[in-house]
């Protein structure tokens, strides 16, 4: 068996690593070069690895800062929706409330429940957190600001989305708590059933754009039309599916606090719980970003730089999520599943048909 | 035990109760006359409008009397079942009301001191179930044929009946209102004997 050469492996991810985070042009690369030259090491492969690590750290920081802002934005917006002020004590306009909360979570005791399964309890935390962070690695944020730009980026993003369910059901089981168990089952059932319409909707986008690559999908939309216009049905299906996938109200049945205290997260305490909460926002961010990329024209927009357009759109979509949370009650689990299988699946197929029709006769619509 | 195959029954075809909006034309005197003719040994009085009263009710007749009330006189609702400790005897007080005739009957049954038991009416009205349980809980009055005569408000395994008159409150909890609300000199809590009183519960 012959392994691919070094260059071939970098091509697997669709781009040279030098392109990574191109917006901050070659910052990771130059940092790595500087460190290695300071140490008098001339090893291109080590340089490559170091660049990779630094790029990962930059990505992590970017995502984390965004998540912190998302949580703040959600609190403030929710406050406005609910006719109250939201956080306003810690820091300017309450911005550092999140940090205060994180600190509080840090000083809490991490409890392993009696008779809980340590391996399942802790390893699933790692899987859930890591897989959620990984999604952002394949999601570009601007034409020259991305971690990787692989050709199968869209598919890869959803493959990584799909890792979480099994970890959740194990987490629910390992907590040795009936609420957790039921929450884990619900979460998994919900995620599995919403992945089907979601992927079919994504497929209709792929049919129109002819590629799995995020950048090319955005470029296609820039040169033709945002996919939200021809695929409005698909947009709605995708919106509902992604809200179900990231488990926000009205689809937060897995951690419905009224009946299953906090679902599969019930037994997690302290920083573990904080990490799960953070993860859910990372997933919200990723979901909103993917939605912007495949339906709302990504980073395209007049005057402002692309990266700004991207964030404006992502935060607008997130505001939509918050609006739904503020105005809708929770849907029951069997109704969630019914909606998924009986309404969204046929709708996504209809959407697929529309996409195929437009692909064949699209010349009329400049598609 | 529960029905193993639960079914959700929609209320279609259930009895229509909209006639309850207007009161029936039956007067309290007619109800009393009907009860008198059926149960001549029972003494029913009209206390005030809509308030019937029935004292010293023989406890053997209770279920028969209540069945008649429910089935023939449209007394649909048990407002309350209360126990009482008359010291010379036990007493169970039933308040059964009729939505249709807009009146309430109060039945006071005395039970002998040595045998505090009476037949249950929870088979007739489900609403009496927990009231009877509570009466058992607080007074130790047993209700024959009750489906689940267990403690309801006090914890399981409580071995006393707190509302009996011979159940002494702890002395230093008891406030002496005659002496201007001053608490008597607190005595040390020594044994459980003071708490349980001399009751045989």
């Amino acid at each position: 068996m012959s392994l691919p050469s070094w260059e071939a492996w970098t091509c697997v991810w669709g781009s040279r690593i030098g392109d990574t985070l191109n917006y901050l042009y070659s910052i990771p690369h130059s940092i790595a070069t500087a460190i290695l030259s300071f140490l008098h090491i001339n090893l291109p492969q080590l340089n490559y690895l170091l660049t990779w690590v630094i790029a990962s750290i930059i990505l992590l920081v970017v995502v984390m800062v965004n998540v912190i802002i998302l949580i703040y934005v959600e609190r403030k917006e929710l406050g406005r929706f609910m006719d109250r002020r939201g956080p306003f004590v810690v820091g300017p306009a309450g911005f550092f409330q999140n940090f205060a909360d994180a600190f509080k979570f840090l000083i809490k005791e991490m409890i392993l429940p009696e008779n809980a399964d340590g391996l399942g309890f802790n390893s699933t935390l790692v899987i859930v957190v890591a897989s959620s962070m990984l999604i952002m690695a394949v999601v570009p944020q601007a034409p020259d600001f991305y971690y990787t730009n692989t050709d199968l980026g869209l598919l890869l993003a959803f493959a990584i989305f799909a890792i979480e369910p099994f970890a959740v059901v194990i987490a629910g089981w390992a907590s040795n708590n009936k609420y957790s168990l039921l929450g884990g089952f619900r979460s998994t059932a919900q995620m599995m059933s919403y992945e089907v319409p979601m992927l079919i909707t994504v497929l209709s986008v792929v049919v129109l754009a002819g590629t799995f690559n995020f950048t090319q999908i955005v470029n296609y939309q820039a040169s033709h039309v945002w996919f939200v216009v021809p695929l409005i049905i698909g947009f709605i299906v995708f919106l509902i599916s992604i809200v179900a996938e990231i488990e926000r109200i009205p689809f937060d049945t897995p951690d419905a606090e009224a009946e299953l205290v906090h679902g599969w997260m019930t037994e997690y305490a302290g920083i573990k719980f904080a990490l799960f909460q953070l993860t859910s926002y990372v997933r919200s961010f990723a979901g909103a970003a993917i939605m912007v990329l495949i339906f709302l024209g990504g980073w395209t927009g007049p005057i402002l730089p692309p990266i700004l357009w991207f964030y404006i759109k992502v935060y607008a979509v997130f505001t939509l999520f918050v609006w739904m949370r503020a105005s809708l009650p929770r849907v029951r689990i069997d109704q969630v599943l019914n909606l998924g299988w009986r309404s969204l699946l046929p709708l996504s197929l209809v959407n697929m048909l529309i996409a195929a029709f437009l692909k064949i006769y699209g010349g009329v619509f400049h598609l | 035990m529960a029905d193993p195959t639960p079914t959700i029954v929609a209320p279609k075809g259930d009895k229509d109760y909209s006639y309850l909006v207007s009161p029936s034309t039956v007067q309290e005197q007619e109800i009393i006359a009907s009860l008198k003719s059926k149960f001549p040994e029972v003494e029913v009085k009209l206390k005030q409008k809509g308030r019937l009263e029935c004292v010293k009710f023989p406890r053997e007749k209770l279920v028969e009397f209540c069945t008649y009330l429910r089935d023939s006189l449209d007394f649909e609702h048990v407002t309350c079942v209360a126990g009482n400790d008359l010291k010379r005897a036990w007493e169970v007080i039933y308040h059964i009301s009729s939505y249709k005739h807009r009146c309430m009957i109060q039945i006071r049954t005395e039970l002998p001191r040595e045998d505090p038991s009476v037949d249950t009416i929870s088979q007739l009205w489900g609403g009496a179930d927990w009231h009877e349980r509570e009466t058992y809980d607080m007074y130790g009055i047993t209700f024959n044929n009750h489906p689940k005569l267990e403690r309801v408000l006090t914890p399981e395994g409580t071995d006393f009946f707190p509302f009996r008159k011979d159940f002494k409150l702890l002395d230093h909890w008891k406030i002496d209102w005659e002496n201007k609300g001053k608490r008597p000199k607190p005595e040390p809590m020594v044994s459980t004997d003071t708490r349980f009183g001399d009751g045989n519960g």
Binding site: L3, P4, C11, V12, D117, L156, A174 | -
Partner: protein, 84 residues
């Protein structure tokens, strides 16, 4: 020794160890956990072999669906699910 070979050895060894642990684990849910690990390791091997599509589908189908199915199977057929 090239860095790809080192990567391959690490991932392959992980897959083998996880597979062994899957078989030897006394707790069946742990086996499912290790099984998911094996499948992810195999997906990484596919990536290493430049078969990106197969790797992605491996994750999407096997980790996302088959493992969950197995877990549901385990939990719905056991008498006592909870540990305590």
């Amino acid at each position: 020794m090239s860095i790809e070979l080192i990567g391959f050895i690490i991932v392959a060894a992980a897959a083998l160890v996880l597979a062994l642990m899957m078989v030897l684990s006394p707790e069946i849910v742990h086996s499912a956990l290790y099984f998911a690990g094996v499948l992810i390791a195999i997906a990484v091997l596919f990536f290493l072999m430049n078969a990106v599509y197969v790797g992605i589908i491996q994750i999407l189908i096997y980790v996302g669906a088959v493992v969950v199915l197995i877990l549901f199977g385990i939990m719905l057929t056991r008498r006592n699910i909870l540990l305590g």
